[in-house]
């Protein structure tokens, strides 16, 4: 069916979005017997939203199997979730999500997802997280194939511009496709269209002009149009305005959609300085993967939202090679000059740091918090503090890379959207990043976004189908 035809047909459930949560919603609604249309903004080549850049899902499992190296029981996942940022936003919904996660992997496999056995690159998360064979785009492809087989229609390059309401009921979706406007009147709608991280103007409301220097790791399409429409219809917000997950990415990365490849993990192996050549945060504070989440925000709060990582030859080969290569020189100053930072300041910073390195301590071990710390330095470097003294020296410029935003709409246990006045939207359901703020609002737990999308996609899809066809 062509998109034009699909957008003129009658549907029981229309799912807005094209990523994991949207696909799970659509498949669940279809499993429940509904006629389902998905409206995806992106063209086929870029379909799948942020999910195309994901790699794994974190679920409760009570025993090891082929794909998880050990058990990860409810209490442990719950404890991990509570240890992230400020902890769960809504304890009831967060606990419910963790409990429901247990049945997710089976459902995923039944709907075409293939897993990867733990390998070198996945071992550190091999117990807690299940990895998708080939990553998130492969998962999304598998779901799209299953959707086609199940008779779910997908309108690509179609944008939901407006949701029309009559009281608490969504009466129409206004969709633009190929320059034409379409008006759909489905009995039930699932909003699974992600956060607003690609909407720089929206980020600017909370972050000011700093937002202009952020890189967005996912597709350019996640501009929060649907989220804004829901707020306009009186939806209550969940999650903090400034809540996002951000990591350090290569400053040469594209503005949008750089994904995983532009990620940098050089910081703990040396020092990081800001625009003015000064250190500003403990580079040895935490081990992977928590430090990823820390550094995006750290750099976002520095002048001009840029920082520079320096290291020396001793630690070469200990981390993933940056995709654009690195700057290199016979002195730290030379490397600084290549990147446009004041060589004299950086040299002085490195000298001060080297002088503070405690050379009597334990042996350097990048695999653990080795306790190799600086003394009398502010800020300190509390682990992996080796002097930077062996040429050639290396450096790289870093920017904050925003993975996703947390703020979304508040929901009930059956994925209905709450309104500020205490009522519920009658026929609109939400799943995925658009409602992840109910669960987490700060910090980052690897693979849990996919858990939220899968758990809530199943609920939203089934509830929407129930609402539409009884």
């Amino acid at each position: 069916m062509r998109a034009e035809e699909a957008l003129r047909s009658d549907w029981d459930v229309v799912v807005i979005g094209g990523g994991n949560a949207a696909l799970v919603s659509a498949l669940s609604a279809r499993d429940a017997g509904a006629r389902v249309l998905m409206i995806e903004r992106a063209p086929v080549a870029f379909r799948g939203g942020n999910s195309r850049h994901t790699r794994n899902v974190r679920c409760v499992h009570n025993a090891a199997d082929e794909y998880n190296t050990g058990a990860y029981v409810f209490d442990e996942l719950w404890k991990d979730l509570c240890g992230v940022g400020n902890g769960p936003s809504n304890e009831e919904l967060a606990e419910f999500t963790v409990r429901e996660s247990e049945s997710a992997p089976r459902w995923m496999a039944e709907h075409g997802v293939r897993w990867q056995r733990p390998l070198s690159g996945t071992l550190h998360l091999g117990r807690t997280n299940r990895f998708f064979l080939g990553g998130g785009k492969a998962l999304v492809n598998a779901y799209y194939r299953r959707a086609a087989k199940a008779g779910i229609e997908i309108a690509y390059e179609a944008t939901v511009e407006r949701l029309e309401f009559d009281g608490d009921r969504c009466t129409a979706l206004i969709v633009r496709h190929d320059g034409r406007e379409y008006r759909l009147r489905p009995p039930a709608v699932v909003c699974a269209s992600g956060g607003f991280e690609a909407n720089i103007e929206w980020l600017r409301r909370y972050w000011g002009d700093a937002a202009l220097n952020y890189h967005i790791r996912g597709p350019v399409y996640n501009d929060g149009t649907v989220l804004a429409q829901l707020f306009e219809a009186g939806a209550e917000s969940a999650g903090e305005e400034r809540g996002f997950h951000a990591i350090a990415v290569d400053a040469r990365s594209p503005k949008f959609d750089g994904g995983i490849a532009t990620r940098l993990d050089t910081i703990p192996y040396g020092i990081a300085v800001n625009r003015d050549g000064h250190r500003f945060y403990d580079e040895g504070e935490d081990i992977w993967p928590k430090r990823y989440a820390t550094w995006g925000g750290n750099i976002a709060r520095q002048p001009d939202q840029i920082a520079y990582s320096f290291w020396d030859s001793k630690v070469r080969g200990l981390f993933l090679p940056p995709m654009y290569g690195v700057y290199r020189g016979d002195s730290v100053g030379e490397v600084a000059a290549q990147m446009g930072v004041d060589p004299a300041t950086v040299t002085a910073t490195v000298e001060a740091y080297n002088a503070a390195v405690d050379r009597s301590g334990t042996a350097f071990d990048p695999a653990v918090l080795d306790g190799l710390a600086t003394r009398g330095l502010d800020p300190p470097k509390s682990n992996w503090a080796q002097p930077i003294d062996t040429p050639p020296y290396f450096g790289i410029a870093m920017r904050p890379g925003i993975t996703f935003t947390y703020m979304g709409v508040a929901v009930t246990r059956d994925a209905r959207i709450r309104r500020v006045d205490g009522s519920l939207l009658a026929n609109v359901f939400a799943a995925g990043e658009i409602m992840s703020g109910n669960i987490l609002s700060t910090g980052y737990l690897a693979g849990f976004g996919m858990t939220i999308g899968t758990v809530w996609g199943r609920i939203a899809g089934a509830e929407a189908a129930k609402h539409a066809i009884g």
């Binding site: 080549a45 070198s120 080939g134 990553g135 998130g136 194939r145 959609d257 490849a261 995709m323």
Partner: protein, 363 residues
Amino acid sequence: MPLDDLFAEAERQMNICNSCRYCEGYCAVWPALELRTELTKGDLTHLANLCHDCRDCFTACMYTPPHEFDLNPPKVFTEIRTRTYGEYVWPRRVPRLLRGAVGGIVVSVVAALVMLLLSIPTTGARVFSADASGSPYDLMPHWLLLIVVGVPSVWAVAIGAVAVVRYWRDTHGPLADLASPRLWGRALATAATLRHMRGGGEEECAYPDEEPTPARRRYHSLTFYGFLLCLLSTMSAAVMQEFLGILPPYPLLSVPVVLGTVGGIGLIVGCTGLLALKRRSARDQTTDTMLKADHGLLSALLVLAVTGVLTLVLRDTVVFGVILMIHLGAIVYCFGVAPYTKFMHGVYRLLAIYQDEWEHARR
């Protein structure tokens, strides 16, 4: 693309792949890449020949065109393999006539005509008569047949050996490292079962569409084992003749005829299947050069198999002589130019698998 540009482009792409690593579950290429942070031409050549061209990585990649990272590992590996096939043989510059389908037909037909001409003075004009016994020696003396088939075969083996040495030096180094029976056992088992075409071992690769399917692995196995049975058929015939003194034609239930028939049918089904899959496969992940080379090899094997089966089926008819000459012409061509064709992919790929096993043993 000039060589330096090709390797620079491959290095650019592999640096991105090495920063991502999502594909590591699919095949041996990606774990092998993870062992390397700085890539030499030898490394890239190794990775390219370890690639079995199933394209699962392309399908799973979020950086393929139109994404600005413009990743296309199957294509860049194909380009490097094309360079491998040209670089390591002797001589490096083979006349274009000897490559491709047209060249194959021309050379095969010329060889068949030459043999026809040789047949007439040595055995009379029996090649055109219906009273042949079904034995090749009615149409060509034993010594001449040995020369006609033997010379190109010996040539092929010698050039193949040169290529092995040159390839191994470039991608690995010391020849002595090729001397491990244990590693050969593993490499041969991996190659014989096409383990790297199993899409990470969970299911299958998704070539030529996006749905996992064993079709390519099965057709490839039919082709390979069909070819092997045909070789065994020829060798068993030689044993029967030289050591047992039993001369052709052999009865239908003899070892050479059964092996040749089963092998021939396997080759015909396998090659036809692979050609059909290739028609459906994506063109943006390969090159015209490689497509031509693939078609050349598969067509040549098909001609070998069809003419071989026909020499059996038609051995009591008037066309036996002509069919036999065409079959021999095809053998002369296929064996003589084998080192300069896609035929060699098996040799380089086996060496790449051996290298991979060598690296595994040292991990």
